[in-house]
């Protein structure tokens, strides 16, 4: 397979179609428009492919819930304010155990905010976002190649756990072009018994989120919780970069992690031994993996394009075993590697 130069938004679309996504519904919003546009153009070229530009974000999420119940691989996408609108639908999909992919190309918030890259939706993504006791698996790519790879694995994870999966990237990742090689997707493993395929196709099935009997509902909640426990155990993914001799470790994901890598290169040229811990799954957060690192490295700096959200998860993971500093640029501001390097250098030798 050849290397091609594509924008992040287009890569998600292409990877989804290759992974067998046959139903996409979406409503335009910058900076993810190119994904909707790509699906509009390319979904019609694959057999059984359905593209719908819905009348709203709420309609889109409910359309993919329906198509998912019917057994299709489904996806919707939006950017921060639009993702807020989808939350009720995501909660319903989690309740009904419907697989589906939700792409959030984050922009500055809160409110309508702006259209610049940001990471302010971490809490919303990793804490469920909608109402009720549920979780979504959250994947955070940091390069266009990873956008392609993780989009494909998102579909596998969604089917495996029958749960919505969110791809959390930002405006920079969506707009940027980088070379990508599309890998061969794995064949789909998803039992027909979960699909609604009309009368005469097996036993009748209930797919519903309304459970009026509290005991039934409690049992359903515990069932979901047991599933989330399995996910938490099996699926955390992360990347370590120049950890071996590190005196200090930066924790960052997505675009922030790229900037951190640039900063680390500069710092190492000046003799400062800094490494990077990059969560690839934000939920489940690679908690035990980070805690294990605390046996070796005692100083951390969390860097996010927000006022400090993943910071909470890092604190929970490190449980007071190490010192944690924070640097954030919220609201759509993107710092340079040089700026971050200065911030890190300032706290590198600091003793509390």
């Amino acid at each position: 397979m050849n290397k091609v130069l594509m924008s992040g938004n287009n890569i998600i679309g292409e990877a989804a179609i290759r992974a067998g996504c046959r139903f996409y519904a979406g409503y335009p919003i910058t900076p993810q428009n190119e994904l909707t546009e790509y699906m509009a153009e390319h979904m019609r070229n694959v057999e059984g492919g359905i593209f719908i530009q819905s009348e709203s974000e709420i309609a889109a999420i409910n359309m993919i819930a329906g198509a998912s119940a019917a057994g299709l691989r489904v996806m919707t996408s939006s950017s921060s304010p639009g993702i807020s609108l989808k939350q009720e639908g995501i909660s319903s999909m989690a309740a009904c155990e419907l697989p589906g992919i939700i792409v959030n190309i984050m922009r500055g918030g809160p409110g309508l905010g702006n259209i610049r890259p940001s990471q302010g939706d971490y809490f919303q993504a990793t804490r469920g976002g909608g109402h009720g006791d549920y979780r979504t698996i959250v994947l955070a790519p940091a390069s266009c190649q990873e956008l392609g790879d993780l989009t494909m694995s998102a579909f596998d994870l969604a089917d495996k756990y029958r749960n919505p999966v969110m791809i959390l990237a930002d405006g920079m990742m969506g707009q940027m072009m980088e070379p990508v090689i599309f890998k061969k997707p794995k064949p789909r493993v998803y039992s027909k018994k979960f699909m609604l395929q009309g009368a005469g196709t097996g036993k009748s099935k209930f797919i519903r989120g309304l459970l009026l009997d509290p005991i039934d509902s409690e049992e359903h909640n515990w069932k979901l919780a047991r599933k989330y426990e399995v996910v938490s155990k099996n699926e955390p993914r992360h990347e370590e970069y120049k950890i071996d001799d590190a005196q200090m470790v930066i924790v960052a994901y997505g675009t922030a992690a790229r900037i951190a890598k640039g900063a680390i290169k500069r710092l190492r040229n000046n003799g400062l031994n800094v490494g990077l811990f990059r969560p690839i799954t934000l939920w489940p957060f690679p908690e035990l993996q980070l805690r294990a690192l605390a046996a070796k490295v005692k100083k951390y700096l969390v860097f996010e394009m927000s006022t400090g959200q993943m910071l909470d998860d890092v604190r929970l993971a490190l449980q007071g075993y190490a010192d944690i500093e924070f640097h954030g640029r919220p609201g759509g501001a993107v710092p340079t590697p040089a700026e971050l390097a200065n911030v890190i250098a300032r706290v590198y030798d600091k003793n509390d």
Binding site: S7, M176, P179, V334
Partner: protein, 179 residues
Amino acid sequence: MLVKTIFSGFGGQGVLMMGVSLANSGMNEGYHVTYLPAYGAEMRGGTANCTIAIGDEEIASPVASEPNYLVVMNSPSLFTFQNKVTSGGTIFLNSSIINDRPNRRDVKVVCIPCADIAQELGNIKVANIIMMGAYIKISGVVSPDIYLKSLESIMGSKKKSLAEINRKAFAAGFDYVKD
């Protein structure tokens, strides 16, 4: 090696095309590349710009706070970006329509009357490729052959005659720059 370039001009001047073609040829040379367009409420006749990073290592940030090269196709772009260029860097400007000159003395300035050359060639649309000829000759980021091949493969689905005029335009820009 890490080379960052900002291309800027009016929407419609082929500014983003310059960036895409350079990024593609960087990729085909085997380098790491990123292409980042300015995005938002853009329109024809408005401003457009993009940033290309080409390096032999993974590229950390696709943003250029201090680009090595700046290519400006109109005056507003010159004023917006001239002070960003790193000391010792190079500014390429479309001297057919930009009467102003950079007020910095620590950067090299290359003036290419690309709109005039394009008109001589009989197609104003290739002004951007003429500029690319000059840019590739001076920067040497990628080889001219790879650039032309990459350009052809991007334009692939379009008319064959385009390939020929693009080649001519590229050569005109390339040769305009004296060694």
